[in-house]
Amino acid sequence: MSTSYSFEFQQYGKLTIVHSVNACNLPQARHDIVVDIYERLPVPFGLVRFGVAPDHPEVKNVINTFTQTAHSERFYFHGNVNVGMDISVEELKEAYHAVVLSYGAEGNRSLAVSGEDLIGVFSARDFVGWYNGHPSNKELHPDLNCETVVILGQGNVALDIARVLLSPLDMLKKTDITQRALQTLAASRVRRVLMVGRRGPLQIAGTIKEVREMINLPGTKADLLPVDYDGIAEALNDLPRPRKRLTDKQAMGIRFLRSPVKVLPGADGKRVAGIRLAVKKLEGSGEGAQAIPTGHTEDLECGMVICSIGYKSLPIDPAVPFDPRRAIVQNNLGRVQGTAGLYCSGWLKRGPTGVIATTMNDSFDTARIILNDLEAGTLDMSIHKPGAQDITALLKARGVREVSFSEWEKINSEEVRRGEALGKPREKLLDVEEMLAVAWS
């Protein structure tokens, strides 16, 4: 009977797998670590599968690194397991030397304005989940029969959504965007997308590559107001020159210093017809600049509002201390406060910002902390822990059947096969039941 350390990672984000890259590829000393990942869906990879835009396939190359790790003989994937419902964090702590929570941020920051519940108002997460095939968003059915869509927020997610709404169909149909979304976009009447942000151009959350893509999108002209850039000529020099093409029938625009006050209903009182924005002015500069109200408001006509103002982590188990104000698990350098053997990593630890590389580095951080604790004896390796053996038995008794990594690979092959018929890299399965049927076939 080997003294194996078993780490458990409840995965919602892709970074738990990266985590285990570090754990499994350690030089010499740590050949006795086993890593188990528990994931609610039958499919792994989290945001790399459901968040990254379909026209950014290179970003998804990181899946190859993850897959390599997953093939290690000391790594096990346990899909279709809902931690917090099928099994508790306490039960996991009993079975493992260390448990790492890295399930990301599946909630949304609320707009907190009236009209938020009108038909046609969506969270960015739901909208992205819809075109990226997330099972919980398959019945979203957004109505793209309107001319103008307003996106609140100017981060990379907002830029992705704007780009997907206005990309030429020829470009999109070769990607892994869902067929359903493609058909809806083919029938779309949307010609204008406005991204509205609270602060000024220098505080924009999006990164330059995405802004460049927006400005260079074929068939779409960039709708930027010169007055927004008064006094920041240097910043203007950094932005690529927007090319005005008279034949561009679509427009993607950015509006600064506007904050939502109310979503306005149409005549039937049920559907979005516009949005009222408060006009702000900027005080201070750089990252710390504040948007101060001026007292003026502005109404914009639109048929859809997408709120891309940030994600939020949710507590999944009352036994885990959660900070509701910052919406993260209470932790110190990734060690969950008040308890031993419990860690958190990624967005759940630091808040939901940063690109893949940022979060990947954070994973490595967390892994180092765990290894430090192992070496310091804070994690007692002399105690035998049963690991997955006990957990799987418990799950079985509760009627929960897991999906292994090789079973995920069956789902993967089926998706690739369906995609081939359509000239796409894959056609994602939208239905959990269907995924399970393929996995266990």
């Binding site: 950014h56 290179e58 190359n61 350098l333 590389a357 990947m360 580095n361 490595f364 951080d365």
Partner: protein
């Protein structure tokens, strides 16, 4: 001469000469592009790993082929979609390299621990003059003590 069987046909000789020159050119090119480049990778602990790359390869190619142990290096596989192949160069080396394109700059901007002589490894192609070059692996995480300090100040 193969065509007219005479001994001094200029056309045939010039064709032959052209072929010979061509073959020599190819041989020279082939041999020179095989020149080996010695590289020293130094990580944040000061540990040095020396490997030999081949002219024309990118630094990402070298790290992958020679199994240089750098956590999470080259996640996007050289498609300018991440910054995980970020490396730091000596001034003299950096100055001799070709200027960065916008694409690379956009991604490099997001790299942790960016310096004035930073480049993305997937965009740097080995040249003979890089022989003996030392490349530093950037500090990917803050020193734990810095993190503590920052937290206690908040």
């Amino acid at each position: 001469c193969f065509y007219c069987m005479c001994s001094i046909c200029v056309r045939c000789y010039s064709v032959l000469l052209a072929c010979v020159v061509f073959v020599l050119d190819v041989a020279v090119f082939h041999y020179s592009s095989q020149s080996k480049v010695l590289l020293h990778f130094v990580n944040q602990n000061g540990m040095k790993t020396s490997v030999t790359g081949t002219e024309g390869e990118s630094l990402l190619d070298v790290v992958v082929k020679k199994n240089v142990q750098i956590d999470g290096f080259g996640a996007c596989e050289g498609t300018l979609s991440c910054s995980t192949c970020h490396l730091i160069f000596e001034d003299s080396m950096y100055d001799r390299m070709e200027t960065m394109a916008d694409d690379e700059m956009d991604m490099l901007d997001l790299a942790y621990g960016l310096t004035k002589t930073s480049r993305l490894g997937c965009q740097v192609t080995l040249q003979p003059w890089m022989d003996g070059m030392t490349v530093r692996v950037p500090q990917e995480v803050k020193d734990q003590r810095d993190v503590q300090e920052t937290k206690s100040k908040q």
